[in-house]
Structure formats: structure tokens, C-alpha cells
């Protein structure tokens, strides 16, 4: 099934195959030419999460993706939660392959890649290992390994626009885990989105030092609110603490990973969500049809890998209008979030005038600066 190597940069099929969590029907089969396959042929897909699957965050987004693809009658999906980034994940992967006959595995935490996936993948050349968030390098990595990720900063940019409209104090807050490129990209996208509405907007950032640190997240959120910040968002594994703290104190919040409206019925504005079930269904389709699995999958709003949450009750019509315009531009393609001239918060020019980065530009995945207006 997996014969020749494929070059990087293949995007997901435009058609969103399954919409959101809880949607029952499968759109996939109907949008492609009908394939007759026998009833016995099933695709066994294994998913591994680093945290709990009900964290309203990163892991839940993958769990919802798995639940979505599991609704296909010819897919058998199984998962394990709370698997640490140690030798445990190697054993989990092997157990899924040996005992459950997994043909394709999705170890969803970044830290699973090196050394764990790289150690196990060569032992099972017929199994495909798809890593979320990693950078597949066809000169270094085995053929049966691949990576997939989404440009969620596009949806975060839209959150920023809404936040920029709704903030009365002009101060936004961002609770972040660790200063790695994916997180910095989101902080910048959020701030740039807000600054497109109000150029004087500032974003306070607090790094908690880890992906799941509820105490520090609560402390950061509380202290930010005490400083007059009235819109909070975050990039940690579970947004539950930050969003609930914001709701308790009566300030607005923008969600992340999944739809957080339930956590903040009054103050929720919008959020950036993953739509993994479309990606998972795409992979399942490829297997059942015997097609080559792409080694590198990236996409954003246009490809349906990420999406914007529904708007909360307090969002104004003006905010919605601006966000929808930007969304349309991002979906149409060509709109660049990271377009010069951009200065970082230390005064250096990081993107010169006239230079505009497209989302697929690999330089963005090594971002190490924060845009002017970000405090922290």
C-alpha cells in the first residue's frame, strides 16, 4: 500500500468530510466516486492521547476526531488516554499493533516523535505512524512515518479580531504553556488580529512552564484580570481553567482546541478549534482504497482542518462582520497574517515591509519572536 515517497506540502482534500463533534452522518463517501469494498475490510485505527480525553482541550479535540471517524461502519477505532511521553507510548503503540491489529496509528502528542515513534516505526513497516504536529523530513525519517497539523493560528487570528472589538480596556491576556514556535505563532496571530481592529491593543502573556499546570493557569488568569485585562485566551492543553476563571470574574474569553462555549455561557466570544475528524477520515479513506498515505499534511480554514467556534451571546454584529470578512479572505487564500512591516516587542524589525509569509512557509514553524504590543 505504501510504495513511493511523496514530497512535502500535500494539503487535505478541500471537502470537509465530517463536520464537528456530534455530527452523525458521513459526507466522505458521497463526495467521492463510489467505491465498492467488501464488508469484511475494515481499517483499524489507533489513537494515543497524552492527557485525559475530557479535558475540553487538545486531547478532547483528538478524541472527538476519533469519535467522528469511528462512526464510519468500516472503521474500527480504539484509543488510550494519559500515555506519558516515555517508553510507555512505545509499548502502547506495539500493543495496539500486535493485539488490536492497528494499521494506522495516531500518537497525538508532540513528544511522542523522537525517540519513540522513530524507534518503533522501523519494526512495523506495514503500519503507518502519523504524528500530530511534527515535521516529517523524507531524507531522515522512515517511509511509514508522517505528520499532520493544522494552521490553527488562522482561527486564532479571527479570535483576535473579535477580542479586539469586544475589549473595553484594550488589554488582552494570553496564558501560554511554553515559548515554542507553535505557541508564539498563536500569540502573534491573536495580537495581530486584535491590532487590525485597534492598533493600540496590547496582549499580556504569561508562560506557565508546562502544558498542564492548572494552578499556575488559574493564578495567571486571576492576576491578569486584576490588571484590567478583559479578554482572556490561552494555549495550554486544557483551556478549562482559564475560560472558567474568566467566566467567574465576569470577563470575556476566547476558547482553544475545542468549543468552550459550555464552560463560559456568558463571556465566551469565539475560539479556535481543530476539526481532526476530517483528517482522520481522509486517512481512513486512503487506506481502504489502497492509496498512498501522504507523509506531510498541513491545512487551515480552507481545508477544514481547523475552524472557528460559533460566536457567543455577547459578540456584537460589527465584530462578527469583521471576523467573517477575514475568514472569507483566509479561506479564499492569499491573505497573509504575517505580512511586513512587523516589529517584535524588543523593537527589532522581524518582517520587513513588502514581505508576506504564506501559511505554508516553513520559516513560520521556527518562530522565536513576539510581535510589538505583546508584553511578557
Amino acid at each position: 500500500m505504501i510504495d513511493t515517497k511523496q514530497k512535502a506540502g500535500v494539503n487535505v482534500s478541500r471537502r470537509t468530510l465530517i463536520k464537528g463533534a456530534g455530527a452523525g452522518a458521513v459526507v466522505a463517501a458521497s463526495s467521492l466516486s463510489p467505491v465498492a469494498f467488501s464488508e469484511e475490510k475494515t481499517v483499524n485505527m489507533g489513537f494515543i492521547y497524552v492527557g485525559p480525553k475530557d479535558d475540553y482541550g487538545y486531547n478532547q479535540a483528538h478524541y472527538e476526531g476519533k469519535s467522528g471517524v469511528a462512526e464510519l461502519s468500516w472503521v474500527k477505532a480504539f484509543d488510550e488516554e494519559q500515555v506519558a511521553e516515555t517508553i510507555e507510548v512505545q509499548k502502547s503503540m506495539e500493543s495496539m499493533i500486535q493485539l488490536d491489529g492497528a494499521q494506522i496509528l495516531f500518537p497525538t502528542s508532540f513528544g511522542y516523535f523522537d525517540p519513540h515513534i522513530l524507534k518503533i516505526a522501523p519494526k512495523y513497516p506495514d503500519v503507518m505512524f502519523l504524528h500530530c504536529g511534527g515535521l516529517y523530513d523524507d531524507s531522515k525519517h522512515p517511509e511509514n512515518v508522517g505528520s499532520y497539523f493544522g494552521y490553527i493560528d488562522e482561527a486564532v487570528y479571527l479570535s483576535g479580531i473579535v477580542a479586539g472589538h469586544m475589549s473595553k480596556t484594550g488589554k488582552l491576556g494570553f496564558v501560554a504553556a511554553i515559548p515554542i514556535p507553535q505557541v508564539l505563532r498563536n500569540i502573534n496571530a491573536f495580537t495581530l488580529g486584535a491590532q487590525s481592529v485597534n492598533p493600540a491593543i496590547t496582549t499580556n502573556v504569561v508562560f506557565t512552564g508546562g502544558w498542564a499546570n492548572p494552578v499556575k493557569e488559574a493564578e495567571a488568569a486571576t492576576s491578569m484580570i486584576d490588571q484590567g485585562i478583559d479578554v482572556l485566551t490561552c494555549h495550554v492543553d486544557s483551556p478549562k481553567v482559564v475560560v472558567e476563571t474568566a467566566e467567574k470574574r465576569g470577563v470575556y474569553s476566547c476558547g482553544y482546541h475545542t468549543n468552550n462555549l459550555a464552560l463560559a455561557p456568558k463571556g465566551f466570544l469565539t475560539g479556535a478549534e481543530w476539526n481532526w475528524s476530517s483528517v482522520y477520515a481522509m486517512y481512513a479513506e486512503k487506506i481502504i482504497k489502497g492509496e498512498k498515505i501522504p507523509n506531510l499534511v498541513r491545512g487551515g480554514l480552507k481545508e477544514g482542518i481547523v475552524k472557528s467556534s460559533s460566536y457567543g451571546p455577547s459578540v456584537t454584529a460589527a465584530a462578527k462582520a469583521d471576523a467573517e470578512v477575514a475568514k472569507a479572505q483566509l479561506v479564499a487564500g492569499g491573505f497573509s497574517i504575517f505580512k511586513g512591516p512587523i516589529k517584535d516587542n524588543k523593537g527589532n524589525e522581524v518582517i520587513p515591509a513588502g514581505k508576506a509569509y504564506q501559511q505554508t512557509d516553513i520559516t513560520l514553524e521556527s518562530m522565536d519572536w513576539m510581535v510589538a504590543g505583546v508584553i511578557g
Binding site: 480504539f78 484509543d79 488510550e80 509499548k91 508532540f110 523522537d114 511554553i178 514556535p181
Partner: protein
């Protein structure tokens, strides 16, 4: 004879009772206890793959349990295995990277020495503070965990960071040639051998040498020990050093056998799981071996429990917790069960 039999029988009875409790818990989740126990067996010892899975998970526990067990024999409750493991792993990675270019044997030996020493000093600090300054060792060793993790993060995100590890900041790799390999054709790394050897060695030292005996006296009655001329402070600090060295070695093995680098994965709860194993084994290094394997087995079965029965991952912790509580509670039975009472003294109760 009865003295050795008593702990074994009481522990066996306690384990049996905990199995009953666990069966009740499983029933409350809507599952069939027999089916779940079968799955636990299948996932822990039911196949060669499962056995390897169990042993690989037991390996770090053997060492981190010693970090609690050895100081406990001196009367201290140390829960700093996590921090000692982190410090040991961190310093061994630094050593391994700075010595690159030398032979693998040299590098590995240096890594083990530096990891054990740094881990040992870390916990010895807690022991020192306890005896010479009256600081509660449980609290100090716990807080030292957080300090160790903070130091790890500070260095690994900063000075030591390998720029290629952007999204999961880690130190540089020690070099594939310097890694601790696996035993034969299996997937079990040599770390388990170190764990078992140290348990056997420390059992011998603790229960068969005068030094070990002195430590037991210090643990049982420090004043009597002092009167007997034993240097209590020295015994305490040395025991803590030994315990910390074991946990430090666990960190070295995580780096040398699994990751090849120092990063946040060093802080994965092995230290805390070791506390459980030490208490279950009643701080006897020999008993640590079966209990570490038992804990490893339950954790190994955890994945299968999730996939076959839909149980949440937390059920593994519930099972371990129930065992822990029951076995600790069974401490009350020691010396009270009529079967083990000395029958030659005709006391009518």
C-alpha cells in the same frame, strides 16, 4: 521461621482483600470483574510482549522505590525520588554530552557516577536539613522535587537546549553509540538489571551487615542508637545519599536507555510511583522486586483495560490506590494475630 512468614502471610491476605475491593470497584463501573482480571493478567503477564511491557515499566520503579525505602529504614519518610531522578538524569546528560568522543564504556560509567552522585547529594541535603536543622524531611524532599524540575526546565529550555528540538526543548543527544542497549532480542533495556542488582545488594547491606543494623536502630529508636554510640546524623545522611543515588541512577537510565537526552520526560511520575512500591514492600529491598513488577504489570495492563473495557486511565490509579490503602491498613495486624503470637508464654487473653 514465623518471623519471616508473618509479613508474607499478612501481605498475601491484604492483597486478597484488596482484590475483593477492586472487584467491587470494577462492578460499580458496570464491568464484569472476572473479565477485567483476565484482561489485567493478559496485559501484564499473558504473553511475552506483556511480560516485556511489565518489566520495562518496573525497571525505574525498582530504583525510585529504594529512594524511599532506604531512608525509611533510618526513620525518615522521603518522597523526593522524583526530584533525585530528574537531577540524576540532568547531570548524567550534561556529563555524557561534555565527554563525547570517548569510548561508550567510559561515557556510560561517568554518566552513572555523576547521576548517582548528584541524586545522592540531592536527597542527602534533605536528610542533613532534617537532622541538623530539624526540617521535616517529607516536606523538604517534596519541595526539592519542584526545585529539581524547575532547574531541569531552566537548563533544558536555555543553556542546554539543542536548537533542533524546537517544539520539545531537550538537551543535545548523548550519541546513539553511548546508549544503554537492550537485553538480547527483547525490548527490555539493561536498566532492569541495575535495578535488581541494587535491590539485592541493598537488601544484603540493610539486613545482613552491621551498617544496615545500625541504620535500623537509628530508624527504630534514635536515642537508643545515640546511647549505643552510633552517629545518628551520619547514618541518616548516608541513608539518604544511598536512596538518592538509586533514584539518580533511575534518571541516568531514562536518559541512557530511553531518550538519549534530558528533557521534561524525566519528570513522569516514576518517583512518586516508587513511593508506593516502597511502602507496599514495607521498605524491604528484596520485597521491592516483586512489588515493582506487580505495579509495572498493573500499569502495563492499563492500556488494554482502556481499549477492551472502556475503563478510563484513572482506573489503574484506583487499583493501585486500593492496594496501597489495604496493605498499609494491614500494618495494624502485625503482632496481633493469634496464630503468630508466641505460644510458649502461657498468657490467657
Amino acid at each position: 521461621m514465623q518471623k519471616t512468614l508473618e509479613p508474607i502471610i499478612v501481605t498475601a491476605v491484604a492483597l486478597l482483600f484488596s482484590v475483593l475491593l477492586i472487584a467491587l470497584f470494577i462492578t460499580s463501573t458496570g464491568n464484569d470483574p472476572i473479565a477485567v482480571f483476565k484482561t489485567i493478567y493478559k496485559g501484564s503477564f499473558g504473553s511475552w510482549f506483556s511480560v516485556q511491557n511489565t518489566l520495562v515499566r518496573a525497571a525505574p520503579l525498582l530504583l525510585t522505590a529504594l529512594c524511599t525505602a532506604i531512608p525509611a529504614r533510618a526513620g525518615l519518610v522521603i518522597i523526593g525520588g522524583e526530584g533525585a531522578m530528574v537531577i540524576g538524569g540532568l547531570f548524567s546528560a550534561i556529563t555524557g554530552i561534555s565527554l563525547s568522543g570517548n569510548s561508550p564504556i567510559f561515557i556510560l560509567t561517568a554518566m552513572m557516577l555523576s547521576g548517582a552522585m548528584s541524586g545522592g547529594l540531592w536527597i542527602a541535603l534533605a536528610g542533613f536539613l532534617n537532622y541538623y536543622r530539624g526540617v521535616n524531611e517529607t516536606i523538604s524532599s517534596l519541595l526539592l522535587n519542584y526545585i529539581a524540575i524547575a532547574i531541569l526546565n531552566f537548563l533544558v529550555f536555555g543553556m542546554l537546549k539543542d536548537p533542533e528540538t524546537l517544539n520539545k526543548p531537550s538537551s543535545f543527544h548523548i550519541g546513539e553509540a553511548n546508549m544503554l542497549g537492550v537485553i538480547g532480542e527483547s525490548s527490555i533495556h539493561w536498566g532492569i538489571v541495575f535495578g535488581i542488582l541494587l535491590c539485592l545488594l541493598l537488601w544484603f547491606v540493610s539486613l545482613r551487615t552491621t551498617f544496615g543494623f545500625s541504620v535500623s536502630i537509628v530508624g527504630g529508636n534514635p536515642r537508643a542508637a545515640k546511647l549505643a554510640g552510633i552517629s545518628v546524623g551520619k547514618m541518616i545522611v548516608i541513608s539518604c545519599f544511598i536512596g538518592g543515588a538509586c533514584a539518580g541512577l533511575a534518571g541516568v537510565i531514562e536518559v541512557a536507555a530511553v531518550h538519549g537526552r534530558a528533557n521534561g520526560s524525566l519528570n513522569s511520575g516514576y518517583g512518586y510511583a516508587g513511593i508506593l512500591v516502597a511502602f507496599l514492600a514495607r521498605h524491604n529491598p528484596l520485597a521491592i522486586i516483586p512489588f515493582a513488577i506487580l505495579m509495572g504489570g498493573i500499569q502495563a495492563a492499563g492500556g488494554l483495560l482502556q481499549r477492551r473495557h472502556g475503563l478510563p486511565d484513572a482506573s489503574v490509579e484506583v487499583i493501585q490506590g486500593m492496594m496501597f490503602v489495604v496493605i498499609l491498613g494491614s500494618e495494624a495486624l502485625y503482632g496481633r494475630m493469634p496464630f503468630f503470637k508466641n505460644k510458649s508464654i502461657g498468657v490467657s487473653v
